[in-house]
């Protein structure tokens, strides 16, 4: 797994509550989600099934559903719930008003 060095992605307010946005970090496309419980999750931006944009998917406090074929993954573990390959999960956190990706 690729290690991402800690990077400021931008303002927390850039991601509406309950939605996701895609960021390109060190040539890797990462979808960052802001859960309704306030926490952040980051996973691969591209659906391993047919390349769908996961940041456009619907989420809850646990999973993301790809908008193309409705496959779903656990946002904390990256594990698929519908028999697809797992997603890489990246560490992400909020620091004040900013989103920090990586360790």
């Amino acid at each position: 797994m690729k290690t991402i060095t800690a990077t400021v992605l931008g303002a927390l307010a850039d991601i509406p509550l309950g939605e996701g946005r895609t960021y390109t970090v060190q040539d890797t496309m990462i979808a960052v989600f802001r859960l309704r419980d306030g926490s952040l999750r980051a996973v691969d931006a591209v659906c391993p099934h047919k390349g769908g944009p996961l940041a456009d998917g619907q989420i809850d406090n646990r999973i993301v559903v790809c908008p193309l074929h409705l496959n779903s993954w656990d946002l904390a573990t990256g594990c698929s719930q519908s028999g697809q390959p797992a997603l890489t999960v990246y560490p992400v956190r909020a620091d004040g008003d900013h989103i920090i990706l990586g360790d």
């Binding site: 850039d14 991601i15 509406p16 496309m29 456009d56 619907q58 646990r62 719930q81 519908s82």
Partner: protein
């Protein structure tokens, strides 16, 4: 504390019950006693073993290693002779005494042997050429003996007798079936069906059948030479197989003082009446006066027993509706409920085609299926069994009960090869569905989640359900979520709507927080809830953008490469040179990769990146055509009376008026409409969610529930009215009734047959429920709440609403045609 559980009987009922108890984590040390020297085998398959199409290994459900692996002590070839309920012990024939805390009696049945002279020898059991057909040992001996002989007589023309006769044909040349009653399978079939079956058995299989044949004597001393009938006839044979019925094994219960009538009497928790720690299950048990000899009721009983014994005291067995669907001796037969009408009021429908050996009869009482018999064609059997079991509403056109009319043809699940594709959208095979069941998914929705079968267009869902039921031994586990409006909120639609109103819940997150135990949010429920809340609250709905599907967030339909399609409104499919010119200019300006005419008579601009959407809408300056939402989509029209020389009504004007009024109306599913100017139906109004057809005399017919997508259905005639205004009112009223009452993603082609067109007409046209005015008001509120979503372009509704989601790689491209 671990309790000692003793089970008398190691057949299908006993072993299945133990499996169910283990599956519930019951804290027991289990000891089982079996009369036979084997593990548990599938008795139903003995006829296949006899016919040589199945091996002995193949019919075992639990071989001896299963007992060891599950910590179950099995005493084979050990018969229990007495139960001492006082001291809680069972006493075996070998003198051993075993104590229990809980006891299950699952002794099953034995073959019933009619009193026939010479059938047995005093002190030596059956005549050596005479066989019962009940156990694996019976079957083995019969095969060995039959191979050395020529002519067989089978006594008994029920299911088992027919199977035995068919099986014996694999081993010898001549088989005669003797049946004491007037027609074959008289317990299940009416006389005509029985005769039809006899004709097929004789002509197709070459088995001679004699009905009204009372066998009185077995002839021959050391070897059987024939049988004599009551009328004096003698039929030559050298082997006799008795399959005249079964009798429950109740001796051990009766001898031990337990209550026995025809079977061992049990209560609704499967406990032997008056004995709290003694249960009985399967063919030996008599529940509410009924004995069951089929496998499905046994599964039901085993579940209730297992629930109860593991501490779920509020469970109840309420009896089973029995049905059978099988190949009897190679001929399709299905039967359920009544085989003859019980009163003059029962509606009987019969179809008979003697030359092909097909006979179908259904009996309906008060609109519910109470009986059906099929011979020679089981294509509708699964459907009928479902209607019968669940008491579902029947199609108005009763012929649909017997034939596939314009719908998908029902495949026989048993006969489908493992690699047959079940879900044509997601490429899921029957084998994959069965694999999911085998790995522990027992509900239809569980299997669908795991395999993705039925998650595309949804047409195959009934087939997936049938495969899951079949793979699960006859019944899928009840999925409590099946009746819920969305999977994440445990309520059917009416309860959910009542709760939303009671608590004044106007946003999707407030519904999760208030109505879901633990306030768990569910991504897969958000879209359905957003649609429902918008329908209920219109302008007052609190719109949380994350509750929307991406299409509804950006008002465009997402494509396979993550780009979007833009479809401007083109009411009734009527456009102008100016509009076309503008669309052409925009297409050129944005280098649109594909411009395509849609099925709904509009123009589709495909391959648009998300971030270009607002600018494009601004340049187009046209309202959204809603080609992306679960909503009112389009009204397709023909040229109507203005130009067409056949047109009898102004379909274009009416189509435009309908679209003008109901544009953008959200619903549980898409609503596609059409208005056609004459019955030639150029606008395809007969197969739309709502289709209007002009007929001569200035009248309009309104059809609802039509479809021409994954499912094809002609709409049902709702009403014929005299003016365009009436069409507009009834359209709104019907759509509002659909919006309020359909399940999430339930299209009108399912909704209308479910409610019934007569009932819908009562409500929408005749106003028998007095809600027409309320429906009209509600739809008017929704119409007033309409805002063109493409106006949401100057200021994004959320930060980054139109930001690219896949900025770097080029995804698989939709091929561009020059």
């Amino acid at each position: 504390m671990t309790q000692r559980l003793v089970v008398i009987g190691n057949g299908m009922a006993g072993a299945r019950t133990v499996e169910e108890i283990l599956a519930r984590g019951g804290d027991f040390t289990v000891t089982m006693f079996g009369d036979e020297p084997y593990g548990n085998y599938n008795r139903i398959m003995l006829s296949n073993l006899l016919a040589g199409v199945e091996t002995e290994e193949g019919i075992f459900l639990n071989d001896l290693s299963w007992y060891a692996e599950n910590g179950v002590t099995l005493h084979t070839s050990t018969r229990i002779e007495r139960i001492d309920a006082e001291s809680r012990t069972v006493h075996a024939g070998d003198g051993s005494v075993t104590p229990y805390d809980k006891l299950i009696i699952a002794t099953g049945s034995s073959a019933w042997i009619p009193p026939i002279t010479g059938i047995s020898r005093p002190g030596r059991g059956y005549h050596q050429g005479v066989f019962a057909f009940r156990t694996l040992d019976d079957t083995r001996r019969m095969i060995t003996y039959a191979r050395r002989h020529e002519r067989a007589v089978v006594i008994g023309g029920g299911l088992l007798g027919l199977e035995a006769a068919r099986g014996l044909q694999s081993h010898l040349s001549s088989v005669t079936l003797l049946h004491a009653a007037g027609h074959l399978m008289n317990a299940q079939l009416d006389e005509v069906s029985g005769r039809m079956l006899q004709q097929s058995v004789e002509q197709k299989l070459g088995i001679e059948v004699v009905c009204d044949a009372m066998t009185t004597e077995i002839l021959g001393k050391s070897e059987v030479t024939g049988v004599r009938l009551a009328d004096g006839r003698v039929i030559d044979c050298d082997i006799v197989v008795v399959a005249a019925g079964i009798r429950p094994n109740t001796a051990v219960a009766a001898d031990s003082g337990l209550p026995v009538e025809r079977g061992i009497v049990v209560d609704d928790q499967m406990r032997v009446a008056g004995y709290d720690d003694v249960y009985a299950v399967g063919e030996c048990a008599q529940h509410r006066g009924e004995l069951y000899g089929l496998v499905a009721p046994l599964w039901d009983q085993a579940k209730v027993l297992a629930d109860h014994i593991t501490g779920h005291v509020d469970v109840m067995y309420q009896g089973s509706k029995t049905s059978t669907k099988l190949k009897v001796a190679g001929i399709d037969v299905a039967s359920m409920g009544l085989n003859a009408p019980a009163s003059d009021d029962d509606e009987v429908i019969v179809y008979s085609e003697p030359t092909r050996g097909i006979h179908k009869q259904v009996i309906i009482r008060d609109g519910v299926l109470v009986g059906a018999t099929l011979v020679g064609d089981n294509s509708k059997a699964s459907n009928l069994i479902q209607l019968f079991d669940r008491g579902l509403a029947l199609p108005e056109n009763r012929a649909e009960l017997m034939f596939d009319i314009g719908g998908a043809v029902e495949a026989s699940v048993e006969e489908m090869p493992d690699d047959a594709q079940v879900c044509n959208c997601n490429g899921v095979s029957k084998g994959a569905v069965c694999g999911a069941v085998a790995s522990g998914c027992k509900t239809v929705s569980g299997v669908m989640d795991k395999t993705r079968a039925g998650k595309g267009c949804g047409t195959c869902k009934p087939l997936v359900q049938r495969i899951v039921e079949w793979a699960n031994g006859g019944a899928a586990e009840e999925d409590p979520a099946a009746s819920w409006y969305v999977p994440g909120v445990p309520m059917p639609k009416p309860e959910l709507m009542a709760a939303i109103r009671r608590f004044d819940l106007k946003s999707v997150s407030s519904v999760f927080d208030k109505l879901v135990p633990g306030a768990v949010h569910d991504a897969k429920s958000k879209m359905g809830l957003a649609s429902l809340l918008k329908m209920m609250w219109a302008d007052e709905y609190v719109d949380e953008r994350d509750a929307r599907f991406i299409n509804d967030r950006v008002h465009a339909n997402i494509q396979r490469d993550g780009t979007f399609s833009v479809v401007p409104q083109m009411k009734g499919g009527v456009t102008t040179p100016a509009q076309l010119r503008k669309i052409a200019d925009v297409a050129e300006k944005y280098d649109v990769p594909m411009v395509k005419l849609t099925g709904g008579q509009r123009i589709d601009l495909l391959g648009i990146p998300k971030e270009q959407l607002p600018a494009m809408w601004a340049d187009l300056d046209m309202p959204s055509g809603y080609a992306y939402a679960k909503s009112f989509r389009t009204v397709k029209t023909c040229v109507g009376s203005d130009y067409c020389r056949f047109g009898v009504g102004d379909s274009t004007a009416l189509g435009i008026a309908l679209e003008e009024r109901y544009q953008g109306l959200e619903g549980p599913g898409k609503m596609k409409l059409a208005v056609t100017g004459c019955p030639r139906n150029c606008a395809e109004a007969y197969c739309k969610d709502l289709g209007v057809v002009a007929i001569d005399g200035g009248k309009w017919e309104i059809y609802v529930g039509g479809a021409a997508g994954a499912h094809i259905r002609k709409g049902d005639l709702l009403a014929t009215v005299g003016s365009a205004d009436e069409v507009i009112v009834l359209t709104g009223r019907f759509l509002q009734y659909y919006r309020e009452n359909a399940n999430w993603l339930e299209r009108t082609y399912t909704f209308v047959p479910r409610i019934g067109i007569d009932r819908i007409r009562e409500i929408v046209v005749d106003d028998t429920d007095g809600i027409a005015a309320a429906l009209d008001t509600a739809v008017e509120v929704a119409v007033q709440a309409y805002r063109d979503p493409w106006k949401e372009r100057a200021e994004p509704a959320t930060p980054g609403q139109f930001r690219k989601s896949l900025p770097l790689t080029v995804l698989p491209q939709v091929p561009v045609r020059a």
